[in-house]
Amino acid sequence: MSQLVYLVPLFPLIGFLINGLLRKQLSKSLTGIIGSGVILASFIVSVVLFLDVKNGQGGVTTLFDFLSFGKVHIPFAFQVDQLSSLFLLVITGVGFLIHLYSTAYMKEESSDHFARYFAYLNLFVFSMLLLVMGANYVIMFIGWEGVGLCSYLLIGYWFKNNDYNNAAKKAFVMNRIGDLGFLVAIFWLLSVTGSVSYADVFANAGTRSVNDITIITLLLFVGAMGKSAQIPLYTWLPDAMAGPTPVSALIHAATMVTAGIYMIARSNILYTLAPVSQAVVAITGLATALFAATIALKQNDIKKVLAYSTVSQLGYMFLGLGVGAYTGAVFHVMTHAFFKALLFLGAGSVIHAMHHEQDIRNMGGLGKKLPVTHITFLLGCIAIAGIPPFSGFFSKDEILAAAFERNKLYWILGVAGAAMTAFYMFRLYATTFLGKFRGTHDQEHHLHESPPAMTIPLMVLAALAVFAGLLGIPEVFVKNSHWLEHFLAPVFEASNKLAEKAAPDHAREMALMGISVAVALLMAIVAWIRYSRKPELNEAAGLGKVLANKWYIDELYDAIIVKPLNALSRFLDQFMEKSGIDWIVNGVGKGVQYSSRQLRLLQSGQVGNYVLLMIVGTLVLFALQFFLKK
C-alpha cells in the first residue's frame, strides 16, 4: 500500500509537465486525454487506498527528510487515514468529471491555450492532493500555497481582459492575507511543541497551555478565512467567477475552498481544547452564511448567485466545525462538492448554450431546449435546499442539530439561512429554466443541449447529489446507520471524548428536522411559483438595491484599505524615492561633476601658475612640519 501512496500526486504532476511543456505540439484531443486520464489514474489509486484504510491499513509514509535544523525535523511525509482518503476520493472523482467536462467546454480555445488550461488544472489537483495527504502542517502549507497560485492562474486564464486579471490578483492577495495567519500559526506551533507533524502535535495537545492553543487555532482560522472565503476575506470569491466555469466548479466549489475545512477538521483536537476559538469559528461561519445568503437573493448573474451560495454553504460548514459536529461538517463538504459542482457545471452548460450570456434576466424557458441540464440542475437545487431524501438534507440537518445543542440561537439563524438558500436557489432555477424565453432571436435559434462530454458528468454528479445522503443517515431513522460517522470515528475520537455529547432526544430531533424541512420546502415552492410567472426584471430598489450591490462591502474595503495604501505608496514614492533616495544618488553624481569642473581649472596650462602652486605647496609642507613636529 505504501508504495502506491506517492502515485496519487505523481500522476497529476506528470500531466502538468507534459501538457505544460509540450503545449505547442499536442493536439487538443491528446491534451484532453492526458489531462483527464492522469486524474482518472489518481482516482483509481485513491479507491485502492480507501479500501485499504477501510480494512484498517492506513498510516504515515515518509518520502524523504525535507527540512532539518537543530532539533526540528520536518519530513516530506504522507498520511493516509480515514479523513484524507475520503477527501482524496472527492478531489480525484469530482476532479475527473470536471476535466472530462472541460474537454468539451473549452473546445473553442486554440490548442496551446487549451493545453495551458489543462496543465494549470492538473497542477491544481496536484497541489490539492499534497494539501490533504500531508502528514504535517508544512506539507499542507505547500499544497495550500500551490492551490492559491493555481487559483490565480486559472481565474486570470483569459489574460487579455484586464478585469479578469484584477479579479485574479484580488483572489491571490486575499489568500495571502490568510496565509500570513497560517504561517504565524506554524511558527507558534513549532516554538511551543518543537514539531509540526500531526502525530506529535495532537498526541500531547492536552499538555499545552490553553492560551497557546487558542492563539494557534485562531491564527489557523485566519488562514482558513482567507482560503475558504469567510467574513472578512470573502470578496474574492464572487469576483473569481471571471474564470472559466469548470474552474469555478472545481476550485471555488468543490476543492480549494474546502481546504480550510479540511485543516480545521484535521486539527479538531486543538479546537476542542480551545472553546474560545470554536466559538469564533461558529459565529464567523454563521454570520457569513447569513450575510452571503442575503446577497444571493438579489444577484442576476447565474454564476454570482452560485458563488455567494458557496460562501454561504462554507459558512454552514464552519458553523458545524464550531459546534463540534466535525463529521457533519465533513459530510457537508462531500455533499456540497457534489451538488455545487453539479450546479456550476449546469450553469456552464446553460452559458454554453446561450453563447456566453450569463444574465438570468435574459434567459427563461430553457427547460424545454436543455432537458438533461434542466433535470440535473433541478436535482441540484433540491439537494442544496435541504429537502429530503436528497443529500443536502442529511448533512445540513446534522449541522443544525448540533448547533441546537450548543445554542438555540445558532439553530434559529441557521434555519433562517436555509430558508434563504432554498428561496434564492429556486429563484435562480425558475428564472432560468421556466417561463418564457427572454433572450434575442439569434440566441433562441442556437439553443441546444450540450455534448455528452458535458452531460455525462452532470448525470453522474446528479446521482451522487441525490444518493450521497445514504452515507449519513442519522440515528433517529435507523439505528447505527451513520456509516460516515463510524468511518471517521478514529479521526475525531479524542475530540468526541472531551466534548461530552448528551444523547439526543429523538422526538426533539424529529421536530427540529420537520421545522427546517417545512421552512425550506415552503420557501422553495413560493420562489418557484413567483419567479416562473413573473421573473424579476426591474432594477432593485431600497434594501434590494443594497443587497444587489453586495452591501457595498467592496466599496468599503476600497475606501478603508485600498485607497490609504495607495496614498501611502504614492507618498513614499514622492518623498522617499524621488526626493530622498534619488536625490542622494543623483547628488553624488552631480557633486562629482561639480568638483571635477572646479579641479579642472587648476590645469591652466600656464607655467607660471604651476610654479606658484609648487611654491605654495612647499610653504604648506614647511608650515605643517613646523607646527606639527612640536
Binding site: Q603, S604, G605, Q606, V607, G608, V611, L612, I615
Partner: protein, 110 residues
C-alpha cells in the same frame, strides 16, 4: 658679525627671487631671479659653515667646517648646467613664438 645678519640677507634675497619668478613676464628676468635664489642659498650655506661648530657629547667636534663650502661648489655647477639648458629652451621658444613672454607658454594645456 652675528650670524643673524647673514641669515636675514639670504632670506631677503631668496624672497625677492621667489617673487620675481612668480610675477615677472620676461623669461630672462625669471632666469635671473632663479639664479638669485640659488645664490641666496649659497650665501646661507657659507655663513653656516663659519658658525661655531656644535660639539657632540664626547667632546669631539662634529664635522670640520668645510662641508658647507663644498656643497656650494656643487650648487654652482648645477646652476651653470641648468642655465645653459634653460637659455637653450628660451632661444627655441623665441624662434617659435618671437617673444620671451612666459604667459604665451600655455601650450601644455592642449
Amino acid at each position: 658679525m652675528p650670524i643673524n645678519y647673514y641669515i636675514f640677507l639670504s632670506l631677503a634675497l631668496f624672497c625677492i627671487g621667489v617673487v620675481g619668478v612668480l610675477t615677472r613676464r620676461n623669461a630672462i628676468i625669471v632666469f635671473m631671479c632663479i639664479e638669485l635664489m640659488l645664490n641666496a642659498v649659497n650665501l646661507l650655506l657659507v655663513a653656516f659653515s663659519k658658525m661655531p661648530h656644535p660639539v657632540t657629547a664626547a667632546g669631539v667636534p662634529a664635522g670640520t667646517g668645510v662641508e658647507g663650502q663644498l656643497f656650494v661648489f656643487f650648487i654652482m655647477v648645477v646652476a651653470a648646467a641648468e642655465v645653459s639648458v634653460g637659455l637653450a629652451i628660451i632661444v627655441m621658444m623665441y624662434r617659435n613664438t618671437h617673444s620671451v613672454d612666459v604667459n604665451f607658454l600655455n601650450r601644455l594645456k592642449h
